[in-house]
Symmetry: C2
Subunit: 124 residues, 2 copies
Amino acid sequence: MKLIQTIDAECCPQVLAAPLDREEADRLAGALKVLADPARLQLLSLIGATPEGEACVCNLVEPMGLSQPTVSHHLKVLTNAGLLGREQRGRWVYYWVLPEPIELLRGALAGPIAEPKPRRKAAG
Amino acid sequence: MKLIQTIDAECCPQVLAAPLDREEADRLAGALKVLADPARLQLLSLIGATPEGEACVCNLVEPMGLSQPTVSHHLKVLTNAGLLGREQRGRWVYYWVLPEPIELLRGALAGPIAEPKPRRKAAG
DNA sequence: CAGTTACATCGATGAACGTCAATATCTCTT
DNA sequence: AAGAGATATTGACGTTCATCGATGTAACTG
């Protein structure tokens, strides 16, 4: 299965609200796969933690401990998914975190209402 | 990287709150990988959407359109991660959704406070 | 106890993907 | 225009993993 191109409302129905068909499940899984990689999570956290809210590739390669092409690859995946903004300034390229798609994914994991259904072995 | 065994508080620091080190990123990515699969998402939604809040394997194989061993494999991954409860009753094995670990993952994707940092090219 | 049903495990296979070295592209400098 | 620096792309390689058929295991039935 290929990584999804863009994380938008289309790919983020609530998992526990109603049965997903195979196509919906494919889209949501693709969106989650973008996040389900340690290098990409670390990139998001590094960029999000900068005082300026952005970082250029040259500031990311060393703390990541990965080769420059690999960092570039992950930045592209995150950007294609809509998780990062990108702007070239002179020789440098800056990336920053776009919070909206992450919020959409959070919404997909939200519980339906509360706990309307009986549940066995629920702790407590 | 291997699939994580249990989704607990240990593996779910907020991504955008502070820079993750490689170990934290590995754990969180492992937890997200459990969800980042269409078959597992569909299983969660199917089980969660039953009136009883639970389902036996025999009621899942056909709607999933996958072989029984494959369904069994995914149920094991979800159960090991703590996302499903499991109980054998006679010849049948029932599974139900445990909401807590999903909430932990949602928390990891939550924004730090709101938008304290300057952000370029923010739509609007 | 032999047969049947429900589920789990094993072993094999193919596809997806994370990684790197080499190279290309683009920008600024001199 | 030639060189240097920053980033992107390409191609190759190894690992992970989703999937299946075959088989194992456990519970009920006759």
